[in-house]
Symmetry: C2
Subunit: 238 residues, 2 copies
């Protein structure tokens, strides 16, 4: 009795060995069942699993092809900074540097996607890992969307941690970039000469309402943003 | 007759208006149906859609709560560089700078996750947008996994474009960072003084076999990696 897993491994070997290239048709179920000496339903299950993993592409009537991925998706999980630091086994530290209510001017209105003149809460915070500067946070919160932020001092809890307890969001935008540091970043993050910052900017909205804009700057020489995809085939290999 | 869409909008207003905070229980279906003057099945459909969107969390018996998202996922789509440039309306240019077969030494073996001494193809390529340097690519391809790469000159087609026609991959790793440029990056990317590079490193595997390692460096002052999430609620708002 031939298992679908061994058929899956066989087909995979054909792909690894370039018996069939990306975009190419592989034999139909009937022929594979004959070649491997198993039932068509066993072949079908193996093909379906490889298709679910994105290794094969199946089209009704058009047959099964080896997938040709022309774009690669990388999923970045951005945690609350406290969790990010603690999960790496380091001690989390937090300092509020600045807190001020402002009216949105032309620059900040554009950043947070809110009308000029509306009240914003501006915060600057430093997050540390084992006492070493890890992230400088510069944040604006819409006081129209989140009036209760006015009454929070943010001395002991960072704004990200507080925000997740307030409202969910329905839309977000992330921009990642490498930048020369400004004077405050150079000093607060204790950057070495010529050390750039890795910047994450994030905006969130709930329905049409802008909630917050944040710029997170990290020391370029130590910060890495990593996305690992588990091996789709681990089950086959074990 | 009250539509489930108007109920969805009502519940959303309750969340926006902070009637219920993240983590908090909202009233049960029966009470909501009475409050909104509609059937329980209409409420149920509205709640289910908001749960599917990640705005609510439903648990059998435990009721429905406003979701509290403590990590934010950002999906980065990394296209073939030619598509990335052409989709932005610019003309794509490509230059092969260097091509060499090497045996993996301790440094390159670590990068590509292959044993020392195994043959690698090393390539350096420049990708341009409207004639302006956009990306400097430094790539190693395993000639054990992809022996046919030895016969490709890569003069007119970049290695990424070629690779997608060769084998699929089942595992990938991406590392994003900000770095001071090395001398070649400074010259080839025509960087301004103090301009850092935005670096994407990618490794891919097919089953246990390492395929390629690539370092993609981009001019920091102009390059932005962007991830936009569509508004989950767009349907409600229209």
């Amino acid at each position: 009795m031939v298992s679908y897993k061994s058929i899956k491994a066989e087909i995979l070997n054909g792909i690894v060995g370039r018996q069939w290239a990306p975009g190419e048709l592989i034999p139909n179920e009937e022929d594979l069942a004959r070649d491997y000496g198993c039932s068509r339903s066993t072949v079908n299950r193996a093909l379906q699993e490889l298709a679910d993993l994105g290794i094969l592409e199946r089209r009704r009537k058009a047959g099964t092809r080896v997938a040709q991925r022309t774009s690669r998706g990388a999923l970045i999980q951005i945690q609350i900074v406290r969790s990010e630091i603690e999960q790496s086994g380091r001690r989390y530290g937090y300092v509020l540097l600045h807190r001020e209510v402002q009216a949105a001017d032309s620059a900040t209105a554009g950043l947070i996607d809110a009308p000029r003149g509306k009240p914003l809460l501006h915060l600057r915070c430093l997050h540390l890992a084992d006492g070493v500067p890890y992230q400088l946070e510069s944040r604006w919160i819409s006081l129209v969307a989140l009036p209760s932020a006015r009454d929070v001092d943010f001395e002991s809890v960072g704004p990200n941690e507080w925000l997740v307890t307030q409202v969910p969001y329905s839309r977000s935008e992330h921009i990642f970039s490498a930048a020369p540091p400004n004077a405050e970043e150079r000093e607060r993050l204790r950057l070495r000469p010529d050390e750039p910052v890795f910047v994450i900017e994030r905006r969130t909205w709930l329905a049409a309402q802008a909630l917050t804009y944040v710029r997170l700057a990290h020391p370029g020489l130590s910060y890495r943003m990593i996305s690992r995809e588990d091996d789709l085939l681990d089950e086959t290999e074990s």
